[in-house]
Symmetry: C4
Subunit: 194 residues, 4 copies
């Protein structure tokens, strides 16, 4: 089976997820800058969630660049990832609604953690189909970033009950880790061509 | 006519359907875990509907893998399927709103039943265009899963008036039948290549 | 310029339009079949609008099948069509909200009329770029269906003030005209191959 | 890395943005033409925002026509553009809600300004990857329209506090500048072929 439709469907779902999040930012009733003040944390949460979903799209794009074949297990591992991503707007909205109270902030982290786990499962399913010596396997390498992210998410979920802003800072830290360009794929693919 | 745009449009519609369903999960007003309790059945209904729509996308993907030509009848049979799928978020929301009362649970089953019928019609339209000896015809075979699903849906719609949870268990059973991988297509396409 | 992205973008916009219309059907609060009764006309309006938008997608698909090149004028003529199509959910919702009062029913017809005009403009822009002797020009022929639709829409908008149901019957009649398969393109393309 | 998925994802996000804006036009409760009167400015704001987003899609389409390779920096520069575009429905809604009060009208201009800046950054990132002598570099030329737009936006944001309609006229002027066809790309690409 070709990977074209799996990519197209994932692009569609992620495009809708990333765009409907902005609907959580309710238009304020006042017409002065003071009316925007309560929106500032909500805007920052939107920025964070937008970046998180964008990172998943970027990684998905890189990952499938090295993929040659997809099977039934790949389709479902991918659907599983899209399922958890689809809950990001919901947990973002719940944090907003409750002014970043501990439980919603922890729930936000749990969903991000499950997205990370789902992405890891997708990677393993693809590796199983491509073999340990494939270009994909070598390009993925040890996946240190993935492991670090999961550890930080677990810590952040717990620390939300100490202070919500610690967790939010940790979520932002994970985003930063991934925003630093990951040249593993590009380097290896370049090697492959030569 | 090529099948590319029919696939792209179906991917787009199904991507929107599967994502707007999560908008039915209204953000709770409380900030503690107790506020999440009434969301648990709504969340489970979302999981079920997500899986149902995902199964249709997967089957659609497999089905069109073996399709070579599309005509006007195919376009309308496909639109008919997308129409009934577009009602899944509505019936999911109605069940949620009414705490799984018998009528909404039966209505949910009626829409799933009509999705199944629409999928069956689409299959027949494609078969008529491809011939009884085509790869597609042999790959589809007897479509036992489709027939069993329709029988279970009819039973579940009736049994909703005995107890809603019987119906919901039957809907989940249909999902399980389809989640078990269907290797007919993959096997036949593999044969074809050799 | 290739036509691929114009088709992909149009598919995306039409997919969102056709799916968000169902959000106009508000989930009823009651849990019995009586709660569905006021939804019946709203459901029928949804069916009509779904079919109307589906007809545009089908025609768009057929039209661009014969197109080889797109230019700036094509992009804007296409955007113009998408603009009027994007108003179909709004006018459908306005009819629903006001129980098919004359003004909203007429407004629904005005938007459909403008969609028809926009489609006609798109056709002319494409013809200007392809030449009067092109396959596209011969396939489009006299566009009798388009002309008849516009005449019916104009009549229906006026007759909404006599009785709304006359207009609705006329809109349904236009849909029926287009649902009857239009084999002009398929025949000519088939000729072309031989 | 091929540009196909970046284009497909951008098409998806822009398609959702351009379509959800119409949801800001709340269905009026009255059933006569008087009920539409307060919607006229809201409709005009929708037209303006639709044209603005459509211009970005058209320019994006033209720009990537000349692009051969995308890298990590391109993906993020593109995400950055999509982020600011995703705020256009929000600022459009805020203007609508407050009858075009100065602050929301200025905020609308700030978001358009940031979209312009993001598009300019995207252009520079692509140029850096393609070289100063590439077809892309020659096609982009001096980007006078981009510079003029930014200057007008800055002026319009300030003048919103004198009178909101001055700003709105200036936003419309920018749209007009871009609606005049920009044949630089088409001409150069045509040259290239000969």
């Amino acid at each position: 089976m070709s990977k074209g439709r799996l990519e197209a469907f994932s692009d569609g779902v992620i495009a809708v997820i990333i765009t409907i999040m902005v609907l959580e930012m309710k238009v304020p009733h006042g017409a002065d800058t003071a009316a925007l003040a309560p929106l500032v944390p909500i805007f920052l949460a939107y920025v964070l969630s937008f970046i998180m979903v964008a990172i998943y799209w970027n990684n998905h794009h890189h990952l499938f660049h090295g993929v040659h074949q997809v099977n039934g297990a790949t389709l479902w591992a991918n659907m599983h990832l899209l399922f958890w991503l689809s809950l990001v707007p919901f947990t973002t909205g719940w944090m907003d609604e409750n002014h970043f109270a501990p439980v919603p902030v922890a729930a936000y982290g749990v969903v991000l953690l499950l997205c990370g786990v789902a992405y890891n499962i997708l990677t393993r399913v693809l590796l199983a189909a491509h073999g340990r010596d494939s270009l994909l396997a070598r390009a993925l390498g040890s996946d240190r970033k993935g492991t670090i992210s999961v550890v930080i998410y677990v810590a952040a979920v717990g620390l939300a009950f100490v202070h919500a802003w610690i967790s939010l800072a940790l979520y932002a830290a994970v985003a930063l880790i991934w925003l630093v360009p990951d040249r593993r794929f590009e380097r290896l693919l370049a090697e492959h061509k030569t």
